[in-house]
């Protein structure tokens, strides 16, 4: 047998496992294998390799599944609570904006009246009016920034829970 035949057989032996081969190729290979001990050995070596790979087992911590399930449930709860908090924040923002829009003309008149009473320049009472609008957003922004820089009670709860398990 010439080297090209062996080379083709070796390639088909590997290809059979890697990507599959066509029926004519398979027939040709089987015929070749029945006549060629060297290629038979190669095919056996491949089968041995695949058997070794497929029977390769791993050992891991037996509690891993239950710990993972518990952690996923915990995180799921955390996400649900965050979503509820976010919804409440959006609702309060919407209400606050609505209230602000409704009361803006009244506030403007009140500021103008105060300006007249204390004989203030329009720049001052208009600045006061603007600050009155900006102040709540500034306070909320500061609170959110502070909350991000400090661990929440939920995170503390989670750490305590993780220590328990």
């Amino acid at each position: 047998m010439n080297p090209e035949t062996h080379e083709r057989a070796c390639h088909l032996i590997d290809a059979w496992q890697v990507e599959g081969i066509s029926s004519p190729e398979r027939e040709w290979l089987e015929t070749h294998l029945s006549e060629c001990p060297a290629c038979q050995a190669r095919a056996r070596a491949n089968e041995h390799v695949l058997l070794a790979l497929r029977s390769n087992s791993v050992t891991v911590d037996p509690a891993l599944v239950s710990t993972t399930q518990a952690r996923v449930r915990w995180r799921s709860r955390e996400l649900r609570e965050n979503r509820a908090r976010l919804r409440a924040l959006w609702i309060s923002c919407g209400l606050s904006w609505l209230l602000g829009a409704v009361t803006a003309p009244l506030l403007w008149q009140a500021m103008a009246w105060l300006g007249r009473q204390f004989e203030l320049s329009p720049v001052i009472w208009i600045t006061g009016f603007a600050l009155f609008w900006v102040a709540p957003a500034t306070v909320v922004g500061a609170l959110v920034a502070w909350k991000h820089s400090h661990p929440s009670g939920l995170k503390n709860d989670r750490q305590a829970w993780e220590r328990r398990i």
Binding site: V18, A52, S55, N56, V58, V60, V65
Partner: protein, 199 residues
């Protein structure tokens, strides 16, 4: 044959849709079931990638947290396990990138002594069977460890996880031709290494 294949594909699509629906709702029961279903295969793949049991276990947990958080991105047209293994792979790559050389070296040389059980075998083997199996498994592990990571990964996905070539290409993010050449080279190298180990 054609009808049964069609039924199989339909049932898989149906299952994928159910998984996608459950993931969007962050259904904890579905996630519990999926975690239990992949409790053998995912750690084995992660162990192949990292070579370290502790890292594989941490990544196993992180993968499922990521599945929970990003579940709405799962497209039921993909097979769930392809998506799952892609997430696990990305997390493993992030972990390996974060580690400094010393830590990376520790990752590649596992040696923790924590009590553990054999996940792939539920029946009780005799002590002799255990010793023989352990020796064989050790030889395979040593041979796998000597392979380049790219070849090791595709061999495991192809022959342990039984993924087809297109799925492997999706998981590893490489063209089909690259996956094939890695598989051929990996198979040859692994065969030689195993022969050396057994000699």
């Amino acid at each position: 044959m054609g009808n049964s294949l069609c039924l199989f594909v339909n049932s898989m699509e149906q299952e994928n849709r159910e998984i996608a629906h459950g993931l969007r709702r962050r259904d904890p029961d579905l996630l519990d079931e999926l975690i239990a279903r992949y409790q053998y295969r995912l750690p084995r793949y992660l162990l192949t990638l990292t070579g370290n049991r502790q890292a594989a276990e941490d990544l196993f947990q992180e993968t499922w947290i990521r599945v929970l958080e990003k579940g709405h991105l799962y497209n039921p047209q993909w097979r769930f396990e392809t998506w799952l293994f892609s997430i696990a792979r990305n997390l493993a790559i992030d972990l390996l990138r974060r580690h400094e050389p010393e830590s990376l070296d520790a990752l590649l040389h596992p040696g923790d002594e924590r009590p553990a059980r054999d996940w792939s075998d539920n029946k009780s083997p005799t002590p002799l069977e255990t010793v023989v199996a352990d020796q064989r498994a050790e030889r395979v592990r040593v041979a796998l460890r000597h392979l380049v990571p790219e070849a090791r990964e595709v061999l495991v996905l192809r022959f342990q996880e039984d993924m087809d070539l297109s799925e492997i290409a999706e998981v590893v993010g490489a063209p089909l031709s690259t996956v094939k050449s890695r598989l051929y080279r990996g198979l040859e190298a692994f065969r030689n290494l195993l022969e050396e180990e057994e000699a």
